[in-house]
């Protein structure tokens, strides 16, 4: 772990402040050449891009199914990612298996790409558990609900990786609203001071529930990072190729030991903040229409059709795959068991705690006395 501020390295070639969006695929699906970023995605064309397309379609389909499950009373809440598929899939697929993720609660496509089992995506939202998966099984922390808190965890983990002598990178996801939080600003100071191998991945989806990004930032968010000594990239968050390229570039820096990078993925939250939200009270329909024309999936589809890789038949096959995943997702969700009554006492502490043990045994006796507990303690 380095403890001085003087050796934070800032690569000269990273724009600082970033003056334009990195874009490799425009909204019409035209491939835009970029000598700097093209090499990072030279392996992604034809069939490889088709697989990316399938991932985008599948995560959108899962998201639609989750919203339906919420409307049917099977989930308490769901935070849709509609519109942010490219930002999440592109960045998640840039990661190595050993890279570690600290995300917020909307990165369900990241979790999907990470190999999280389908029902585990909704345990938190169905209310059967506070987390869906074991973080160490997929190298992804359980999603953070407190805005921005996870960014500091990422810096600590990253510093720990370097202390361990491994070149693992850490990435943390957060939104435009989070950039106002003290924790995110502290995380950037700490990351810069310690040269932490961490990527700050901000999905600027233009909204913090009902508050437009203009309430958080008067200038592009990516412009803040250089002030902390962290180079930044501003990327078209609806362009999966550009996001993949930018994240790979930032991760390369981290893997090389060149310190933190900040990415602002400019995107748009096409749905509500959560299923409890009502965007009709604050979203300008014209603005939403403008962003609908920049859809992250449509442009990949257009590009693949132009290239002759995607036909009506392949598109139908991808849609069928997505439907199958959604059906499995739904079935897995409905099969999640409710927690046992005394499970509320489990895992509060790692070691025995006398006060809690007494409370648990009293509750167990009470449940038995009223016939709500039979047989074993659970």
């Amino acid at each position: 772990m380095r403890t001085t501020v003087s050796d934070t390295r800032i690569e000269a070639e990273l724009p600082s402040p970033p003056d334009e969006l990195v874009q490799l695929l425009d909204p019409e699906g035209r491939r835009i050449e970029d000598p700097l970023y093209d090499p990072y995605v030279s392996d992604v064309s034809g069939e490889a891009l088709l697989r990316l397309y399938e991932d985008l379609v599948v995560v959108r389909r899962i998201d639609v199914e989750a919203t339906a499950l919420q409307r049917q009373g099977q989930l308490g809440l769901w935070p849709p990612l509609l519109g942010q598929e490219a930002a999440q899939v592109g960045s998640a697929l840039a990661l190595r298996a050993d890279d570690f993720i600290f995300s917020s609660y909307r990165e369900n496509a990241v979790a999907y790409c990470r190999g999280v089992e389908l029902p585990q995506l909704v345990e938190v939202w169905r209310g059967t558990a506070q987390s869906g998966w074991n973080p160490y099984a997929v190298n992804m922390a359980t999603p953070q609900i407190v805005i921005g808190a996870q960014t500091l965890h990422a810096v600590g983990y990253a510093v720990g990786c370097r202390h361990d002598g491994v070149d693992t990178a850490t990435i943390t996801y957060f939104g435009d609203g989070a950039t106002t939080q003290g924790d995110v600003n502290e995380a950037m100071v700490f990351a810069a001071s310690f040269g932490a191998p961490v990527v700050f991945f901000c999905q600027n989806n233009q909204w913090a529930i009902s508050e437009p990004v203009g309430l958080q930032a008067q200038r592009p968010i990516a412009e803040r990072a250089p002030g902390f000594g962290i180079p930044s990239i501003r990327v078209d968050g609806n362009d999966v190729l550009a996001v993949l390229a930018a994240t790979r570039r930032a991760l390369d820096r981290a893997h090389r030991g060149d310190g933190p990078t900040f990415i602002e993925a400019v995107t748009y939250r096409m749905g509500p903040h959560t299923t409890s939200d009502d965007p009709s009270r604050y979203v300008d329909p014209l603005q939403r229409e403008e962003w609908a024309a920049k859809d992250p999936i449509a442009r990949v589809e257009a590009h693949l059709r132009d290239a002759g890789v995607l036909t009506d038949e392949t598109a139908a096959s991808v849609a069928a795959t997505a439907d199958e995943v959604a059906a499995a997702f739904r079935a897995g969700c409905l099969a999640l068991p409710n927690p046992a009554p005394l499970s509320v006492f489990d895992h509060v502490y790692a070691e025995p705690h006398t006060g809690l043990a007494r409370q648990r045994s009293q509750q167990e006796a009470y449940l038995r006395s009223v016939g709500e507990l039979e047989g074993g303690a659970e």
């Binding site: 987390s131 965890h153 810096v155 600590g156 983990y157 720990g160 502290e186 700490f190 502490y349």
Partner: protein, 333 residues
Amino acid sequence: MTELTLAKAVNSGLRRALADDDRVVLLGEDIGPLGGVFRVTDGLQRDFGTDRVMDMPLAESGIIGMAVGLAYRGFRPVCEIQFDGFIYPAFDQIVAQVAKLHYRTRGAVRMPITIRVPFGGGIGAVEHHSESPEAYFAHTAGLRVVTCSTPQDAHTMIRQAIACDDPVLFFEPKRRYWTKGEVDEDADFPFDRARVLLEGADVTIVAYGPLVATAIDAAIAAGDEGTSVEVIDLRSLSPLDLDTVEASVRKTGRLVITHEAAQFGGLGAEIAASITDRCFLYLEAAPARVTGFDTPYPSARAEEHFLPDLDRILDAVDRVLGRQNALTGWSAS
């Protein structure tokens, strides 16, 4: 056995923990070359390096949040919060993250984080440097809260806190940092068990941290007047060792609890309620609390009017014995 001040005893405990386990890392403000504002980390960065003893940028939430990430990675971070009154910027990370991550992840992620906090008044300090915020943390599930009153306990308990797989708030009684006592590095005892310091038959006084010494003074003074007082040092505030207090109160039938923290919703209220629950038929009098008042901590030259002292404790001893004084409602005249 070595004679050490309480501050040096914490230092030697930290030194042993760093030497015994290379996953132990220290994080804090001014803990490096300066050795901390109370010199508790004196010499540790020199001997264990800047990777193990890290001076932190000035942000308490950042320190604790970074410790969470290090713990995720398998480290055992020991964080120093410079003064009690500066812990609040870290409150969210402590209460919403450190305390809950083991529960949230169904035991997958452990948070063996120790948070050292010099606490309490009596040193003539400015605002924010004399507070007793322990009840906030004792109220939070997932945290353990302990405090020491002697150099021996300081040394042994800081090592146990660091070795514990749960997060531990470790409150150090800053006005007792310079108290000297014998320290046996090989001593071992369960750090969540209270200790009966003085045995007595008439009244039980429960204290912790800086007021343990005051409680002993009060017990000696009461003894001179023929009252036999038992003194219990709680050591652990979460969990509370109520079994030890219960056994004592069954014997004495009278309970006085003292702490510097405000009375309302404090540890004294919890102990009084729990002991009343457990010992109702053994109590000869309602439990009495001698605490800081429900005011902000006052200015330095007024702190003697705020802090529990020997006379106020003796006054409460009189009260639970049914002797007349101002608070029993009897007129002295």
